[in-house]
Amino acid sequence: MEKAGVISGYLDAIEQRLAFDRSLSRHVRQEIEDHLLEAVASDAGGDSAAAERRAVTRFGSPDMIAAQFVAVSVARQTRKTGVAVILVLAATFAAMKARIAWYVMIQWSLADDLKAIGALVGMIDVYAFWLAVIAGTAGCLCAGFGGTPSAIVPSYLRQTRWFLVLSAAAAGALLVSVTADGILTALRLSARWSVAAVVPLVSMACEIACAGILAFHVRAIARRAAAAAG
């Protein structure tokens, strides 16, 4: 019974430290379990409980091993989030431009009594979007996307935190921009409803999905940054 105890206790400890990334923790557990069981099978000592303790000792402390996997996970998520920032901002921009081009094409303008509020919301939309672009670009430049460090060192942790702050700012600003776009779209649709509304509705759905994707990635990098700091 001790066999299960020593090895599964060790695996639980590693899995718990990598709980922020379920896929990684599951794969790492499988991989390490295979290693430890093979090490026990190859041990010529005879006493299986002692063989397991030796295998676990040779493997290294769970804290140290998990910390190295955290570095791998942070680097991977930083890269993914960086790509997401660029793609999401580009897709949102394309959706906005497509909607505006559609309005021009079918000569769908705002009602006169809504023009003042439309101009104000439009201004918020533009500033918020460009703020998202600036924060997102700064975040990508700050991350640098160099190689994966073998461990979390203070300078890398600082860099990750800056990337997180800037990505979160980009996501927040994009959310404001998408909300403003939603208000503008609602203003137009409230005055006129036809089959032509499909285009603005689809473009809005794209923008909302983009904002959701970015928020999801920012949350993922925040969880990894927290694990790296801990």
Binding site: H27, V28, Q30, E31, I32, E33, D34, H35, L37, E38, A39, R58, F59, G60, S61, M64, I65, Q68, F69, A71, V72, A75, R76, G147, T148, S150
Partner: protein, 110 residues
Amino acid sequence: MLKGHLDMIVLAALSAGPAHGYAVIEEIKRRSGQAFDLPEGTIYPALHRLEQAGLLSSRWVTADSGRKRRVYALTKRGSSALVERRAVWEQFSDAIGGLLGGARPWKKPA
């Protein structure tokens, strides 16, 4: 010092062919004459890191024991990286050898 060269060591161990983590460690022990005494677990984050860098690829297979096993292999980029690192290491080793030997100065290759 060993830590700084871990990536090269792992790439070299995999130059013989695809292998899972345990076999990589055994290969390192065998080829180094048991000279390296590092925690075995440190190989796994290195394998993941090298895969992330595109120097290794991996696939899951089912071992004879019935357990799921991750097998790593050098990619084209990994093989090139190993050649480069080996050349750098040989230059470094020759230079240090010349310095410590003291007999004749090491000559930098053209």
